[in-house]
């Protein structure tokens, strides 16, 4: 038994991929993606994508980092173990800025990597596009559009025709075989 889970069209170059993406976008598909060895400028508009919300997540992490840093230092010196060292006041907020900043950056950086993975649902080692042998060139010099069968508009024949009309050089049917 095998089940069609999507189709994958290969395109010649970045320009062809952008045109292909516009055609798929205009046809109203939702569950699809373009694949390329490097990010292509203008592809977000060509695909009709919204802005990434990742920045807000990172901002939150960075704020948490700064709060942790400042809170930890203030609490440790003013409350947990008040000891006067070198005549400095217990709540010497000026001296806390450096570590506050360091933790802001640290949490922000960890947040951007973890957030990027969360938003991209990575790591994910298993994905329909990997069923196509052709797809191996995607990290080299291949440009692809994949449309998933879950898309309400998906219809094997029409979708393949759409990709071919949009300029695909070759289209693969992605089939899942369950043993």
């Amino acid at each position: 038994m095998s089940k069609v889970v999507g189709v994958l069209g290969q395109f010649r170059d970045p320009t062809a991929l952008v045109h292909g993406a516009e055609a798929v976008r205009d046809a109203g598909y939702k569950q699809w993606d373009t694949h390329s060895p490097f990010p292509i400028h203008g592809m977000d508009q060509a695909m009709g994508m919204k802005r990434s919300g990742l920045g807000y997540f990172i901002g939150l992490c960075a704020f948490l980092g700064a709060a942790t840093g400042f809170g930890l230092q203030s609490w440790a010196h003013a409350i947990a173990y008040p000891a006067i060292i070198a005549g400095k006041p217990l709540f010497a907020w000026q001296a806390y800025i450096v570590i506050t900043f360091a933790l802001l950056v640290l949490f922000g950086a960890i947040g951007s990597v973890i957030g990027m993975l969360l938003f991209n649902r990575l790591p994910r080692f298993h994905h329909p596009v990997f069923y196509s042998d052709r797809f191996e060139s995607c990290s080299d010099d291949g440009f692809f559009i994949s449309i998933e069968a879950d898309d309400p508009q998906f219809d094997q024949e029409n979708t393949v025709r759409l990709l071919k009309e949009a300029g695909a050089l070759a289209v693969d049917i992605l089939e899942e075989t369950d043993e």
Partner: protein, 465 residues
């Protein structure tokens, strides 16, 4: 059809230097050239170099064992000079680490697209240099099993580290710097690891790179978040890289020792760090370029630009040396004035003039275009600058301590064989890691290089019938 591009143009940066990458590269030749370095048979030369690096690493481990067993008395430290080579080496290695992040973050924000050819191995260099740097404060405490005192962890004594001390700021700054550099480096590696995964022939490589690349599939919905993450990492690293060496300089500047207690230290240290870091990038880059035939990727234009950055930062360092002297005189502080005359004419004058020659005189040759584009001269200059920057830290640390306020307390400091062994050994640590990196990971960011090739920009078209 080419004229009817319905694509809404956003103000993208067009690669103006068409010769950013030379040799008529296609996407595939880039992949092929860079990946094949990691896939072919290991060259004999590599084994030879790696063997030397590991031998030095063993020297390091042995010397550290000797140090732990006997205590820091095995070093040449004496009563006024309580900070010797350990701090000199620490500052030197951290400084070298600065170029990687400068290239990957600051040049990224400034849209300097030539960075794509050198950022990957410069970032790797940063990581390994910071590891070497962190080694020295780790071992210089003597009883290194008590190192966890640095960490703000609840303990049975209820005591916390002193967050008001620059030494602790340093610990946090360098620790953060290492972590952020590692994340930045790994994030940049993900698409290239996917390339290696897709090219893998053996099961071991398939598994390793499959896991490391996290299932990356180059989807634009992924690239979108990826680019934001990369941009934010660059944005966070930029103030971080400027702050790290400022904090390192606070270790000196917040003390009362003449020659250290000055406000010029943070910018002066940062300029020096970038300067020495670029020198090390050049040293390593020129070797790698030659050995792995990367002349099309690291072109003379790249070398030219790096030499210009060294000219700028080297001149800033030279200016700082001059300004220190001026302030020593202008402040009217006799200790400060004495310290600087002592640096230039005292018992450590030899170190001072090595420093002046290597750091101030040598980069001035970079005004000449022919020098900036001469591989041999660049290599020699980069080595000299590396030496000069080590002596800068030596001069700052040792001349000030060996003759401070009371002549009765003066003493001359010279290192022992263990100081030398640990410093040389740290090169073993560095090159062991660096050679492993060159052997097993793509040393040039393939995805980024492809992105700056002229045919990567969709509006250029060209393939339309």
């Amino acid at each position: 059809m080419a004229e009817a591009l319905p694509l809404k143009q956003q103000p993208v940066h067009v690669a103006t230097d068409a010769d950013l990458i030379t040799g008529d590269q296609t996407f595939h030749t880039v992949t092929e050239h860079i990946s094949s370095i990691t896939e072919g048979k290991t060259p004999k030369m590599w084994f030879l170099l790696w063997g030397m690096a590991v031998s030095l690493l063993l020297v390091l481990l042995g010397s550290i064992g000797f140090l732990v067993w006997n205590g820091t008395g095995v070093w040449g430290l004496n009563n006024p000079v309580g900070w010797g080579w350990a701090i000199v080496n620490f500052v030197w290695w951290v400084g070298i680490g600065h170029a990687g992040t400068l290239i990957s973050a600051i040049l990224f924000l400034l849209r300097q697209q030539w960075r794509t050819s050198i950022n990957r191995f410069a970032e790797a260099m940063t990581l390994f240099a910071v590891i070497c740097a962190l080694l020295f404060p780790g071992i210089h405490v003597g009883r290194m099993w008590l190192l966890y005192y640095f960490f703000p962890i609840p303990n049975q004594m209820g005591v916390w580290p002193n967050f008001r001390s620059p030494l602790l700021w340093d610990f946090f700054a360098v620790g953060t710097y290492f972590t952020v550099s590692l994340l930045f480096w790994y994030t940049g590696l993900i698409p290239d690891l996917a390339t290696l995964r897709d090219r893998a022939k053996t099961r071991l490589r398939k598994l390793t790179f499959g896991i490391l690349s996290l299932g990356w599939r180059g989807g634009n919905r992924q690239w979108q978040h990826y680019e934001i993450a990369y941009l934010v990492l660059a944005g966070l690293s930029t103030p971080l890289v400027l702050s790290v060496h400022s904090v390192v300089s606070s270790d000196f500047a917040t003390s009362m020792v003449p020659g250290w207690h000055t406000t010029i230290f943070p910018p002066y240290f940062v300029a020096g760090a970038i300067y020495s870091g670029f020198a090390m990038v050049l040293t390593l880059g020129l070797i790698a370029r030659r050995v792995y035939h990367l002349e099309h990727f690291i072109t003379l234009n790249h070398l030219d630009k790096m030499a210009k950055i060294m000219l700028v930062t080297g001149s800033m360092v030279g200016y700082s040396y001059g300004m220190e002297f001026f302030i020593a005189w202008y402040s009217g502080n006799q200790y400060e004035a004495f310290t600087f005359i002592n640096r230039a004419l005292g018992p450590y004058a030899w170190a001072y003039w090595i420093m002046i020659f290597c750091n101030v005189v040598v980069p001035q040759f970079f005004w000449i275009r022919k020098v900036r584009r001469n591989v041999v001269l660049l290599f020699i200059a980069s080595i000299l600058v590396n030496i000069g920057m080590w002596f800068e830290r030596f001069v700052i640390t040792v001349t000030s301590l060996s003759r401070d306020f009371l002549p009765a307390a003066w003493d001359y400091y010279s290192p022992t064989i263990w100081d030398v062994a640990i410093f040389l050994g740290s090169f073993g640590l560095f090159f062991t890691f660096f050679l492993l990196f060159l052997r097993f990971l793509p040393m040039i960011a393939m995805a980024e290089v492809k992105g700056v090739l002229p045919q990567a920009h969709p509006h250029r078209g060209g393939s339309h019938e």
